[in-house]
Amino acid sequence: MTTTQPRPAVEIRDLHKSFGPLEVLKGIDFEVGHGEVVCVIGPSGSGKSTLLRCVNLLEEPTAGKIWVDGTEVTDPDVEIDSVRRGIGMVFQSFNLFPHLTVLDNLTIAQRRVLRRGRGEAERIARDNLERVGLTDKAAAFPAQLSGGQQQRAAIARSLSMEPKLMLFDEPTSALDPELVGDVLTVMRKLAEDGMTMMVVTHEMAFARDVADRVVFMDGGVVVEQGPPQEVLGAPQHERTRSFLSRVLDPTHVAQLGQPDRAPEPPEAPRLSVDDRHNL
């Protein structure tokens, strides 16, 4: 159904984003096709998370336009809640709702947003828990799960809304190394099932094996992009090469620190206290 649509799943045109005086995104042009898996890689502070958060408007772009499935999300009058229903997002810090059981985490938005009945919501939730291998954890609270289980539950929570697009914001960065594989396997299966995915990650093996396209960002711009074997195997740009060598061979960094780069931009943009919950 989605493959017949003329517009790409995600279309980004000349996207700029500043936090105060700090320009994090400096004109991004970008597309994600239906069913495509795009991995966004790059050094911390390169703007890749901000780019992802602009797609579902967790961050308001300063300039530029974004379409998701043909709907312009940067339109000031867009019904953002209904757009977000079709976009799943997985966070670095999981963000499961700690006061709800895993099952309720998966059903609450189905019931409140999609108005599904309890029976239907729970059936869909259990199907998705099975998909991520957590059938036996439905009644547990998030705090009783390991990091890897929490992240898989968070993925299942997003899937329960039956999104057409999934955004992953460094989904394995907060995990113990031995738990990373569980999450990546779930993501790979999702990709094989045809899900459109935008993945910000430091897992080069995942990018190499699963991505249809790899995008390397640095300093708020897309430096280069292409099939993983090209970007990761034969990078054209010096910045890409130096980043990859740092990531793939971290004990032999040529030059300590990165003097040519501005100090790291704030990871979480400063919001005034009053705006904390006014997304």
């Binding site: 977000r84 810090s93 938005a109 997003s158």
Partner: protein
């Protein structure tokens, strides 16, 4: 002779026990127990206070407290949300209210509600009579305190919770109601318990509204008995009556916190 470390510690501990026991002994010995008992512990007076102190006075104290707490909680939550609102006038109004009502004595507010409202609206009555007046009069002050507590609780919920909820397509309001506020209330259970205990005691201010035999609460009941019998025993009993409320309450809250610790 040099003591070893454990001997020194044991000696120090015993000295402290001894000092404590000595202090108690001195108090017990020095006090005039017969006079104390005559003034504060007349069994015949205690007997005469029952069952009214439970069936009427304690019952009313609990009702007034719960009424004021419920009113304060609802109104305080609204004030907290107003303080966090994007709409500037909401923030101004809430801030002004909180500053004003935290600064006024609860007695004064109760008095103003009890006598001011009937003067301002002679055609209307506060629903619930004395109970309504007390619930509103004490609740107005309690709301100001609770609003700040609840606001802090809401802000203590990580920002990612709101983001996750919004990402799932929830509106700001739905996310607030189903995700953020339930977590905020778990965080603020201890300070809200404080407020509930303070209200239990503040319910004794009900006397300014002129309570009757049916609407009397524990402190007023004790004071009336004191005047009646010219003996302080009723005050002791009244004091114990408050502990009958507050001690189990602390226990219940501790249980509640343990249960929620799992879901944090």
């Amino acid at each position: 002779m040099k003591l070893r470390r454990r001997q020194r510690e044991r000696l120090s501990l015993w000295l402290q026990y001894l000092a404590f026991i000595a202090l108690i002994a001195v108090v017990i010995y020095a006090a005039d127990w017969d006079r104390l008992r005559a003034a504060f512990f007349r069994v015949d007076i205690i007997k005469s206070m029952f069952p009214t102190i439970i069936t009427v006075a304690l019952r009313n104290t609990i009702l007034y407290t719960l009424g004021a707490f419920a009113f304060g909680l609802v109104f305080g939550t609204i004030l907290a949300l107003m303080r966090l609102s994007r709409v500037a006038p909401y923030r101004w109004v809430a801030t002004a209210y909180i500053e004003l009502f935290r600064g006024l004595p609860a007695l004064l507010v109760l008095f103003l509600v009890g006598y001011g409202i009937p003067i301002a609206f002679p055609e209307r009555e506060i629903p619930g009579g004395v109970f309504g007046s007390i619930a509103i009069g004490l609740g107005l002050t309690a709301a100001a305190y609770m609003a700040e507590t609840i606001r802090a609780g809401i802000q203590a919920v990580p920002k990612g919770q709101m983001e996750a909820a919004r990402t799932l397509g929830m509106s700001h309001f739905t996310a607030m109601r189903t995700i953020v506020i339930p977590q905020a209330f778990r965080i603020v259970i201890p300070p809200l318990t404080n407020e509930l205990i303070l209200l239990t005691k503040d319910s004794s201010l009900a006397y300014v509204l002129g309570v009757t035999a049916q609407t009397i609460e524990v402190t007023k009941f004790g004071r009336d008995m004191l005047n009646d019998r010219v003996n302080a025993t009723p005050l002791l009993v009244a004091g114990l009556a408050y502990l009958v409320i507050t001690l189990p309450l602390s226990q219940v809250v501790r249980r509640l916190e343990l249960r929620y610790a799992k879901a944090r």
